[in-house]
C-alpha cells in the first residue's frame, strides 16, 4: 500500500516538472511584453531594455528555463511578482487557503446535496419529482456558472441589497460564490448517483439481500449504495481538479481574492512568475485529488484495494529475488 502511494508521489513530481516546463514554454512564446505592461507606453527603449535585463528576460530560452526550474523545484522559490513586487509565496499564503476553502466547500455541498438527491430520485424513479428533477438537473448542468453569478448579483445585490457582490470579509461574501460554484456539481452528482443507484437496483446481489430478509432501507444503504458509490467517488475526484480550476471564473466575477483572481490579473499583466506558479499549484491539486480518489476507491472497493496490496506484495517478492 505505502509502496503504491510512494510510486504515485514520484509520478506526481514528474508530472509537476512537465507542467512547469510546458507552462513556461507557453508563456515564453505568448506575445506581450511584461516590461511594456509595467512601464506603460511612454517608456523609452532603453528603459524597457533595462527593465527586461533586471528581470532576466534577455537571457536565452534555455537559460531562463533552467533558472526557473532550479528556483522552483530546488529552492522552492516561486519568484517575485512583476506587478505587485511581492514574493509569490507570500501572496499564496493568504490566497491559497481562500481558494481551497471555496473549492472544498463547493465540493462538499455537491456531495452532501447531490448524492442524497440522486438516491431519492432513483428510489422514486419515474415519479413526478424524479422527472421534474431531471429537467432541473439538465438546466443546472448547462447554466454557465459566471452567468448564474451575474444573475445572482443582479438579484441579491442590486435589487434586494442583501449580499455584497465583491470582496471578502464577512460570511455574506461567501454565499454567492459558493452557490455559483456548486450548482452544476450538485446537478452532476445527483444525475450520476441516480444512474449508479438505478444500475445496482437490478443487480443480482440486491435480490440476494432481499431474499435474506433484509429490510428495504438496509438493502438500499448497506448493499446498493456502497456499490453505487464506486463510480460516484470517481466522478467527485475528477471534479475536484476542475472545481478548484472552476473557482478561477467565480473568483474573477466576485473579485474574490484567491488564486483565481491572482492568476487572471497575472495573465493580463504578463506577470510570468504569478501565472506559472498558479498553474503549477492548480495542477498539483488536481494530481493530489486524483491520488486521493484512487485511494478512496480502494477504501470502498475491496477489488481495487487488492490491486494495491498485490502490487506491494509482488514488489516485495521481486525485491527479495
Amino acid at each position: 500500500m505505502w509502496k503504491y502511494v510512494t510510486r504515485r508521489l514520484l509520478w506526481m513530481i514528474v508530472t509537476s516538472i512537465s507542467v512547469a516546463i510546458l507552462i513556461f514554454t507557453v508563456m515564453y512564446f505568448v506575445p506581450g511584453d511584461p516590461a511594456q505592461m509595467a512601464l506603460g507606453t511612454e517608456a523609452t527603449a532603453e528603459e524597457l531594455n533595462a527593465y527586461r535585463e533586471m528581470l532576466g528576460l534577455n537571457d536565452s530560452f534555455l537559460v531562463q528555463l533552467g533558472k526557473y526550474l532550479y528556483n522552483t523545484f530546488i529552492r522552492f522559490d516561486f519568484g517575485t511578482s512583476y506587478a505587485y513586487h511581492t514574493p509569490v509565496m507570500e501572496e499564496f499564503a493568504s490566497r491559497l487557503p481562500r481558494t481551497l476553502a471555496l473549492g472544498w466547500i463547493c465540493l462538499i455541498i455537491d456531495a452532501l446535496i447531490g448524492i442524497p438527491l440522486g438516491v431519492t430520485c432513483a428510489l422514486h424513479r419515474n415519479s413526478i419529482w424524479d422527472q421534474g428533477f431531471l429537467v432541473l438537473a439538465m438546466v443546472g448542468v448547462s447554466i454557465p456558472n459566471f452567468w448564474l453569478a451575474l444573475l445572482m448579483v443582479m438579484l441579491f445585490t442590486n435589487k434586494l441589497h442583501l449580499l455584497p457582490s465583491f470582496g471578502i470579509g464577512t460570511w455574506k461574501h461567501w454565499v454567492m460564490p459558493i452557490i455559483a460554484g456548486s450548482l452544476s456539481g450538485v446537478a452532476m452528482n445527483a444525475r450520476q448517483t441516480r444512474s449508479a443507484v438505478l444500475e445496482t437496483i437490478r443487480a443480482d446481489f440486491v435480490t440476494t439481500a432481499k431474499a435474506k430478509g433484509v429490510k428495504a432501507h438496509d438493502v438500499t444503504y448497506k448493499h446498493m449504495l456502497p456499490n453505487a458509490l464506486i463510480p460516484i467517488v470517481g466522478g467527485i475526484g475528477q471534479r475536484f481538479g476542475s472545481a478548484i480550476a472552476g473557482t478561477v471564473v467565480i473568483e474573477t466575477v466576485f473579485s474574490f481574492p484567491g488564486i483565481g483572481t491572482y492568476m487572471m490579473n497575472g495573465i493580463t499583466a504578463r506577470d510570468y512568475p504569478v501565472v506559472r506558479s498558479c498553474v503549477l499549484v492548480l495542477a498539483l491539486f488536481a494530481a493530489v485529488a486524483t491520488l486521493l480518489t484512487d485511494l478512496a476507491y480502494g477504501f470502498i472497493d475491496p477489488r481495487i484495494k487488492a490491486q494495491y496490496v498485490n502490487y506491494a506484495a509482488k514488489k516485495r517478492r521481486e525485491d527479495q529475488a
Partner: protein, 326 residues
C-alpha cells in the same frame, strides 16, 4: 402441529413483466404443491419462467417490471402474497431460502462473504454478534470453506466456492423450504456431484422441502421426488420421478428425453426439439407448444385453455393428444 401434506401450495400463479411497452407473459397459471421433506424438480428450457416462479414464492420479484397478476402462494396454509412486509421479512431467508442461479453475481462485491452470511443469521436468530459469527464459520466449514476465509471478499473466491457460499447463506437459518435455482450449473462435474450430495444431506438432516430448478434431467433423476415440466410459463406435465422417466407423456417431455445423448444409440445423433421457444410477448393460441409439436393437429391451435388430464393418480399432462392410451 406441523402439517406434512401440502406444505407449499401455489395456485394459478400468473406473473408478467412489462418491458419496452410490451407485456412478457412469463408465468401463465402455474399450480403446484409440495410436501414437507420432498423435492420437486422444475425443468424446462431457458426462458420458461422457472426463476420467476421461485422469486414469486419469496415475493422478491422486481416491481416494476414484474407484476404478480393473480395467484396464491400458500405456505403452511398462509398466503405469502397477502402478508405484511414485516411478516414477509421474517419468512425470507428464514423459513424459505433461495440459492441463486448465478453465483458470480449473487454476492455483494464490497462485503466480505462472512459478513453476508452473518447478516442473515443475525436477522433471524436471537444471537449476539459473536454467536452469529461462530454460526457463519460453522456454515462455511460445512460447505468446505475454511473458516478463516470469513473476511475475504467474493472476488477472492472461485465460481464453485462462491456457489458454496451462496448455499451456506441459504442454509444458515435452517430453512423449511429451499428454492435451489440451478445450484450446480456454474460448477464443473465433480464439484456438481459434491454440491448435490451436500444439499441432499442437509435436506434429510433438517427435513427441508426443496424446489430444484434445473435443465439437467440427470440431476432430476438423482435428487427429485416429483417433477414439473414447464413450457412457456405453464406446467405441461407433472408426476413422480418414476412417472416421468418411465412413462413420459407430453410431446415436449418426450422431446426433452430425445434430446439427451443415449448410451445405446449407435447413430450418436442428438435429436434436439426443432424450432425455438415461443416469444413470451406473443404466445401461440391454444397449446403454446403446438408450433414445434410433431403430433400437433388443427385442434391444438384452437383458442382456449388446454386442460390438465390426470393420466394415472398423480401424473398429469396438458395435452389433448395424450388423453387415454394413445
Amino acid at each position: 402441529m406441523e402439517q406434512n401434506e401440502n406444505f407449499l401450495q401455489v395456485r394459478d400463479l400468473v406473473v408478467e413483466y412489462t418491458s419496452g411497452g410490451q407485456v412478457v407473459h412469463a408465468v401463465n397459471g402455474v399450480s403446484l404443491s409440495l410436501d414437507r421433506g420432498q423435492t420437486l424438480g422444475l425443468v424446462g428450457e431457458t426462458g420458461a419462467g422457472k426463476t420467476t416462479i421461485a422469486k414469486a414464492i419469496l415475493d422478491i420479484l422486481p416491481n416494476p417490471p414484474a407484476k404478480v397478476r393473480s395467484g396464491e402462494i400458500l405456505v403452511d396454509g398462509q398466503d405469502i402474497l397477502k402478508l405484511s412486509e414485516h411478516e414477509k421479512l421474517k419468512i425470507r431467508g428464514n423459513k424459505i431460502a433461495m440459492i441463486f442461479q448465478d453465483p458470480m453475481t449473487a454476492l455483494n462485491p464490497v462485503m466480505s462473504v462472512g459478513e453476508q452470511i452473518t447478516e442473515a443469521v443475525l436477522l433471524h436468530n436471537d444471537f449476539t454478534r459473536t454467536q452469529a459469527e461462530a454460526r457463519t464459520v460453522e456454515m462455511l466449514e460445512m460447505v468446505g470453506i475454511p473458516g478463516q476465509r470469513y473476511v475475504e471478499f467474493p472476488h477472492q473466491f472461485s465460481g464453485g466456492m462462491k456457489q458454496r457460499v451462496v448455499i451456506a447463506m441459504a442454509l444458515a437459518c435452517d430453512p423449511e423450504l429451499l428454492l435451489a435455482d440451478e445450484p450446480t450449473t456454474a460448477l464443473d462435474v465433480t464439484i456438481q456431484a459434491q454440491v448435490l450430495e451436500m444439499i441432499n444431506d442437509l435436506k434429510t438432516k433438517l427435513n427441508t422441502s426443496m424446489i430444484l430448478i434445473t435443465h439437467d434431467l440427470g440431476v432430476v433423476a438423482e435428487t427429485c421426488d416429483n417433477v414439473a415440466v414447464i413450457y412457456a410459463g405453464k406446467i405441461v406435465e407433472f408426476g413422480t420421478k418414476r412417472d416421468l422417466f418411465k412413462a413420459p407423456a407430453h410431446p415436449y417431455t418426450l422431446g426433452l428425453f430425445d434430446s439427451l445423448p443415449k448410451m445405446d444409440d449407435d447413430s450418436k445423433e442428438l435429436h434436439p426439439i426443432p424450432g425455438l421457444p415461443p416469444d413470451p410477448t406473443n404466445l401461440p393460441r391454444g397449446c403454446s407448444f403446438h408450433p414445434r409439436c410433431p403430433r400437433a393437429t388443427e385442434a391444438c391451435s384452437r383458442e382456449g385453455e388446454i386442460p390438465m388430464i390426470e393420466l394415472s393418480p398423480g401424473h398429469f399432462c396438458r395435452c389433448i393428444r395424450t388423453g387415454g392410451n394413445n
